[in-house]
């Protein structure tokens, strides 16, 4: 059906919204000026004063616009860092796999791709996580072994965000259930101590404990690479936040759900798995998406441990002597990446809110 065209009053409404009172008029004018200025500055940097990638690097010296040639020269380095050049397909494949899987989860929880059963997603995760490590590290299936110090850039960012979040989620759910239940008071107390303790530490402290203290607890002669130690620390850290989100969902359920399940003769485990958790998880999804966005952006903090994620490889890209003037280009690359990926995550969050408000009305 063709929607009816808006009545002519609409134009007057728009005028009133923007310039109805002197204050709105002033605010409108100021924001329009700021928007114009920012657009112009961006346009100037990206197009008007910019140098096309066909021009040699030397021309970029002293230019006020973007040097697009920089991306031609340094994109692969910023994405994959010091990973051997000829083997770049491996981190590229790992990054694509992890991104695709994250996108699938995002689309599925907003109600798209109905054919994709949650069980299939779990199987995919269980398969892809070890596959990512085998592809990156090699030493098996005819792949050359690559030391973890060469795992840089995008794949490390994704391993420490996507995989850490994927592993932290089940742990978080388990902690939430332990904290919510009353059958085993000792476990309940332990979960409370763990969650509150973990949430009481700043993330950087947890990371330092992971990298400097965790190795001391291992038997002598075993060494753990900073990437693995950080991954473990991040999993335990994020889990405590996810646990609180899920517990919020569990507590919001009316007692009648629990009682109804019991009166049907379901055991405690089945009540949890079939009745309470599915409802609690769907209620806590918006909060979980929030935590995920935070966790994802915090990943760049690992630079203090000498791990070179995307932000750090971008810095290295302009550390090469003579390249220092391209700091803006390098940071813009990282900025655009985080803008795009976080835009997707917040889109997922908005969709979830929309779905829930539809449901509750």
């Amino acid at each position: 059906m063709i929607p009816p065209s808006p009545p002519p009053e609409a134009r007057r409404d728009l005028w009133r919204q923007w310039f109805g009172t002197p204050v709105t008029a002033l605010v409108s004018l100021i924001s329009a000026a700021v928007a114009l200025y920012v657009t112009w500055a961006l346009l100037d940097w990206m197009v008007i004063s910019a140098l096309s990638p066909t021009q040699p690097m030397e021309d970029c010296a002293g230019s006020s616009g973007a040097c697009w040639r920089f991306y031609l020269e340094k994109s692969r380095f910023m994405l994959f860092g010091t990973y051997p050049y000829a083997e770049h397909w491996r981190p590229a494949l790992v990054s694509l796999l992890l991104l695709a899987l994250s996108a699938l989860v995002g689309l599925r929880i907003t109600g798209r791709l109905r054919w994709l059963r949650p069980r299939m997603l779990v199987v995919l995760w269980v398969g892809v996580i070890p596959l990512a490590f085998v592809l990156m590290g090699g030493g098996a299936a005819g792949l050359a072994a690559i030391d973890m110090s060469r795992w840089n850039g995008m794949p490390v960012l994704l391993i420490l965000s996507v995989i850490a979040i994927a592993l932290a989620f089940p742990l978080g759910v388990a902690l939430a259930v332990l904290r919510h239940q009353t059958r085993w008071p000792v476990l309940r107390r332990a979960a409370i101590v763990y969650i509150e303790g973990m949430r009481g530490f700043p993330m950087v402290t947890v990371l330092f404990v992971g990298v400097f203290v965790l190795p001391l607890t291992l038997p002598p002669d075993t060494r753990i690479s900073p990437v693995m130690a950080t991954l473990i620390a991040l999993v335990f850290f994020h889990a405590s936040y996810f646990a609180e989100d899920v517990r919020g969902g569990l507590q919001s359920l009316p007692d009648s759900q629990h009682e109804a399940a019991f009166s049907l003769g379901l055991s405690w485990g089945k009540t949890m798995r079939l009745v309470l958790l599915p409802q609690a998880l769907s209620r806590s999804l918006p909060a979980l998406v929030n935590s995920v966005i935070g966790a994802y952006k915090d990943t760049s903090l690992v630079v203090v441990l000498g791990i070179h994620d995307l932000t750090s490889t971008a810095r290295m890209a302009f550390s090469e002597p003579g390249w220092g003037q391209f700091a803006l280009e390098a940071y813009a690359f990282v900025g655009v990446w985080f803008l795009l990926s976080c835009a997707f995550l917040s889109w997922v969050g908005r969709e979830l809110h929309r779905k829930q408000s539809r449901k509750s009305h």
């Binding site: 380095f77 010091t82 060494r223 070179h308 550390s319 220092g324």
Partner: protein, 347 residues
């Protein structure tokens, strides 16, 4: 899964060491068995080691990794150069997961006494200094009382600062940030007043600022920093490193570079006896090759693939580079020019 992988590679390394015949040395044998030399450098030290667009480390320190690979494996490209932070790289070398380090490590008495480490030869003589923003209006380190200092944790830098400030009766505060780029960022954004490091590192790090001219390096040099190649004890490999470096210094004395070595070798009969002893087919270096288990032309390969000491210095740090160091004004000048680089006789 990855933990298991780690364990496997550790046990594989132990097995390889145990199974190797004992005539050379454990490290030499391991390098040859893997046909690759694992060498650790700092991940971001402009001029010394920084990855290029293809992710390969380039710089003054990285070239000594290449020197070792050219000497032992005959191919500088077989150096597996990895960027690892300071304290991690020490642990990695002691644990036997890397063959050597070329990352501006100061040779000190207690470090040398550590049984897991062997310092070999000083590639760069440096000293510690202070960098401050011009806006601080300080012209001497004696005016830094009460300053906050950004410096590397676990390095000799902090100890030197403690000594020096203590001797002057001045107080200071340390901003301890492990990662170098993060630390520099903190300094450039004004989080600390003073950035302390080796003077040449300061010259290089200043280039990372968007406005290098806004920072000055104070005249005081408060320590001696002989930056030295490090490995684990292995007599043959240590000798290969030491004499590989001496080949580069001797080439420097005779004006031999990677560009002209082929013409020198083609016309060897008309060269000085010292040059003949270095590159002849039956010479001091071939004698050494037989004893150390190197290829006969190892000295030639070093100069051909890496260059002389002066060439490497000028390529990465010299006046033509953004760092603009004039070698003859540093302690790294040739001994004939009043510097500390004294070529040992190859005979």
């Amino acid at each position: 899964m990855p933990a298991a992988h780690n364990l496997m590679s550790v046990s594989a390394a132990i097995f390889a060491v145990a199974a190797a015949p004992a005539f050379a040395g454990p490290i030499m044998d391991d390098i040859k068995a893997n046909d690759s030399l694992v060498c650790l450098v700092s991940p971001t030290a402009p001029g010394f080691s920084v990855p290029d667009s293809t992710g390969l480390f380039q710089g003054f320190n990285a070239d000594f990794c290449r020197m070792a690979a050219a000497a032992v494996l005959g191919d500088a490209g077989k150096a597996d150069i990895r960027g690892v932070g300071f304290s991690d790289s020490m642990k990695t070398i002691v644990a036997g997961e890397a063959h050597m380090g070329s990352r501006s490590i100061t040779r000190t008495g207690t470090r040398d006494a550590d049984e897991g480490m062997a310092f070999v030869v000083t590639t760069f003589f440096d000293g510690q200094g202070f960098m401050v923003p011009k806006s601080l209006g300080v012209s001497s380190a004696a005016e830094l009382d009460g300053a906050s200092v950004c410096a590397e944790d676990g390095s000799t830098t902090l100890l030197n600062i403690a000594d020096w400030f203590g001797a002057q009766g001045m107080t200071y505060r340390v901003e301890n940030i492990a990662d170098k780029t993060a630390r520099l960022e903190a300094f450039f954004s004004g989080k600390c007043d003073v950035y302390a490091s080796d003077v040449t590192a300061l010259t290089a790090d200043r280039q990372l600022s968007e406005t290098p001219a806004d920072y000055v390096i104070l005249p005081e040099v408060i320590s001696n920093e002989p930056l030295t190649l490090v490995t684990r004890p292995d007599q043959a490999f240590e000798a290969a490193l030491f004499w590989g470096f001496q080949v580069m210094l001797n080439a420097d004395s005779h004006g031999i570079t990677s560009a002209n070595i082929d013409t020198v070798v083609a016309d060897l009969d008309n060269q000085s006896p010292a040059v003949q002893r270095m590159f002849g087919t039956d010479s001091a270096t071939t004698d050494m090759a037989a004893k150390l288990g190197l290829a006969n032309d190892w000295a030639y390969q070093i100069v051909k693939q890496v260059g002389s000491y002066g060439e490497v210095f000028d390529r990465h740090l010299g006046v033509e580079t953004p760092f603009g160091l004039n070698r003859s004004e540093t302690p790294n000048a040739h001994a004939e020019n009043g510097g500390l680089m004294y070529p040992y006789p190859i005979r």
